[in-house]
Symmetry: D2
Subunit: 340 residues, 4 copies
């Protein structure tokens, strides 16, 4: 098949390249023409477009346009794009849109006779090689029409051992893509996927943090009323080789995962992670996941803690912390201790 | 009655002064003689001692020694003190000892015929004026013997309106002191008290933090894949006068409390709390409370979050945060954003 | 002044009665005429209305209509009410509306020349006696016009000791009401107030829970691989008199508060709280507070934990818990233990 | 080599069998002789013992005894075992002991000239097939001596793809076992491993829970002041096929892991998990992990939330929840809503 790809940054370009490898065609468009030229040069796209109009003109109806831009830019892109399209054309939002925007957009596009599909895509910079896990929302007919595209992007059945007892159940989930439901369902599932991702990442981060401080008993603590004395310093005398522990857990343990594989790699190269400051970004889905949990009345202690810890890592809780220090001063005359 | 007070810092001195006001006598001891002299001068103590031996010699049997030193110094104090005492003498630990140490010490002292009482004391620098809330553990007989002391230190019944329907139930809890149980029970209850204190403080701190950021929609956000766009900036346009909100809630609201009174005072003087950095200490009881919750299998989501947020405020989670940034770089090629 | 009160349930009726005591007039309306008659009988309202039309006709322009209905019914009420009003009339939403709805409603009403004020009201069933803490949003002129009403409802300066050093600063916050900002600001502050309320309540609940299990060491634990053995049963031998501890902390302690006063009362009457099942409702503001925290990027570990614990108390996490048990069975062959 | 295995339940028997397959010998002992006979029959052990004395007599010095019993039974086992051993013999605790007990035991055994090794073992019922991930603490010489045993139990290098750039770094971590440090270091790392495991499991559980309630908008909500109205029911209309989502995420996604593989299997067999009640056990390491975090001053919001949610799943927070309901009744006259 042939698709037009709007947004050929790292993520979009790799997806295009994977499609090409599977025999599909892909016309790419980016705001900066240098980007388009570079992608043609490196073989990510089969052709480039100089404008959205040019992109549309280079595609045969029934056109498939894959939008791969930041969530905050999708609406602006659609505004320009929609008047250029014909009835029956399909727009796929493969980025990280909020699923509620999908519902709104699908409603709007339906009035123009244009079909909308939301496809949450996981795989990051590794997708070209590993394939992309795709969580898809939209009408049955449209999603079915796009099946060859999804299949080409997906990792494929052989990339994981079969689930025991699954037998000949079949289905696309085994390939790494799934039609999850009507408009927004794809990004809803992707949103929760990312919420879980935050939680898993935080679980590792906290655990490795505990290992890293396992030698805290080697430091002497002064005696004052402000510091909780370490009850038993002799129980915290371990200098754990954290990069090797990450490697260790990759085999046979209960906590093995792809995220652990990556962590082992990161720690191998830079055991003290000195190139990082520890200011952790979050990019929307984690937040929306908690909002969904709240709307549903579903307890999400862990996922919310993971999100809020990211906020804290960026110093966002400072005012609240000052309130605490102010209270302590008020009732106990406690002064803040100087930073170590 | 007459007591010997070991440790006449801010807390101990005020307690001594309150005892004097009630007609009791108090011989004070501190390591530095200047402290002792200063306390005599300011009328906190009726007499001073130059050594523990001197202190003991100045008290009539059945001696009452009130120990008011940092938790980490209690054992060292007892080691010197115990050989100087006689059977029947009483040691009260009025500091913030771990209740398990109380049990151990009571066992040890029992072998010497010395009675031990643990008294968790709340009131901070305000106790002289407001009275001290006392949570007491020990044998019935000993605690009863000390009743006049506890009563003199306590706030007194009139300091809070009677609980409706309480009628003539009586009991010392109405006065602000309570024999909570055997050895350690006093510090156990005090420990949980402080755990609750952490939780309440954090509730206010987070809430005021949310109010303080209520104008975040006034800042423009750039569009990139790393930043969660604020969905609706127009809903975050409020410049809340936080000191006045603190004052407001003191009357008629559900969240009125003494801690709020103090917060209103702190914010009145320094609305931006610019004298604080937001590095919040914790001093033992909060930690032990969570340990108790874990031992008991009691969920303590809020109290533990309050404790861990204090750790975070001091930058203790940095390594874990670096792990998160490293993971994000590994799977998505995400670079950390620069600090604002 | 004279107001019309729509919604004269427990909350609205008490507010009306407090206004009457201050010399204002209040025409009351409720769907059920029996309610209106009962309120006239018990002196809560000065007059009753048989319909919204009747209510409007009984008020002199510039009319003040105070809406005191469930948040979910406000829009329906406005739909009927607005056509009956004249330019310049004022609608006050004194319930627990979402502040974003205030902004929307104010915009809509502005087109009709009607003024809108949102007033978050704290005080519960105690407001008649204690006064109502009011957090107000709206235009300066309108809020100023209503000042006599707010003042009459408010607790008054004398209901709390003056904040030290406040001196002659003045302002209505000292009375217990505050104009917090433009439309929605009142309910925004009220929302955060309730978020804090959830956090404080949870802090007490967890703390008392830890005290209640302080005797867990008295139960013998069986030895099996499924149960975490209690390391030191002898440290959990306390039978704490929880009602008396609640009473105790009311005087001189750091955790004294109005919520504690109420808790002491509840525990006095029913020490085992046997009339409750422990299914804890939540009514909107706690949820919106967390949403605000997320939008603002403000860590709210404690307030979110308090909210999620309420969800858990109602069994909402059951499916997730089954997932956990299923995982444990899969990797370890662990079977669930029977309920005690 | 030849080892004696004390405790040949599911876990111990499988480990023995794996050793046999690698050419080692294993004499097994269990309290019940039927167990021993069954293990001989099924080929798990090369020989059986009728008593600890018999076991010891059947092993050649330098004896290696592997203890695989519940953590709470280790001390009792050692008490009987130690007098039967000779200097130089080695005891390995392969169970889930608290690392502090390892330190104590190693000290005690050292006095008898017996060497102690703690080996935290992950792999559950799958270890026979997948190999056991082993985290080892003890003296260098002893651990080195046991290397063939650890290697035979370990999964082996080929069971995971090599970490990129690791090259010829070597080390046993690549095989799936690691000497982590002195006595207790093995169980310390295993403890944190399990803490992480709790966190990861909870992340999935909460996420799947959110997916499972994605159709909550299909239920109508009544309008009352007690229930937070769902703001936008139309955004919660999804019937997600959760077993297929679990399968989907196994390929190409960021959240792929062995725990997810197991979850997909569990959901395949029983999509509603109706055989589980959702009462989730915890078995020690999760608790100790939080204690370590607290001692170290390391924020562990996520790992503690995972632990406390397990407590809640078993109804342990009930008293605290009743406190909350009691408070709500006191200040607002709110009655608990009936269970659905």
């Amino acid at each position: 098949m042939e698709i037009g790809m709007i947004g050929i940054g790292r993520m979009g370009a790799n997806m295009a390249k994977r499609l090409l490898r599977a025999g599909h065609k892909c016309v790419g468009y980016a705001r900066r023409q240098e980007t388009v030229q570079a992608r043609i040069q490196d073989g990510s796209i089969s052709d480039g477009a100089t404008s959205l109009q040019d992109l549309v003109s280079k595609l045969q109806p029934r056109r498939i346009i894959w939008v791969m831009v930041p969530a905050a830019s999708v609406d602006a892109t659609l505004e320009t794009l929609v008047p250029l399209l014909d009835k029956g054309d399909i727009i796929v939002d493969g980025g990280n849109s909020y699923y509620r925007d999908d519902i709104r957009r699908a409603d709007m596009l339906e009035k123009h006779g244009i079909h909308y599909v939301d496809s949450g895509t996981s795989g990051g910079v590794w997708g070209l090689e590993r394939g992309y896990c795709q969580m898809i929302g939209g009408e049955d007919e449209t999603v079915a029409y796009l099946d060859p595209i999804f299949k080409a992007l997906a990792p494929g059945k052989e990339t994981a051992p079969a689930t025991p007892e699954r037998g000949q159940k079949g289905g696309t989930a085994e390939e790494g893509y799934l039609h999850c439901g009507p408009h927004g369902a794809g990004h809803f599932v992707k949103m929760v996927h990312n919420g879980i991702e935050y939680g898993i990442m935080a679980a590792y981060a906290e655990g490795f943090g505990i290992l890293q401080k396992a030698n805290i008993g080697k430091n002497t603590h002064e005696i004052d009323a402000e510091t909780a004395p370490l009850q038993d310093p002799r129980f915290y005398q371990y200098d754990i080789d954290i990069p090797e522990v990450a490697e260790l857990w990759r085999r046979g343990s209960v906590v093995g995962s792809w995220l652990l594989d990556l962590t082992a790699h990161a720690l191998l190269k830079d055991p003290n992670l000195s190139q990082f400051q520890g200011r952790v970004s979050d990019s929307g889905e984690g937040r929306w996941t908690i909002q969904a949990a709240i709307d549903e009345g579903m307890p999400a202690h862990v996922l919310s803690a993971a999100l809020f810890s990211r906020f804290s890592s960026r110093g966002e809780g400072e005012y609240g912390n000052k309130i605490l220090s102010a209270m302590r001063f008020e009732f106990g005359g406690h002064h803040e201790k100087e930073s170590k």
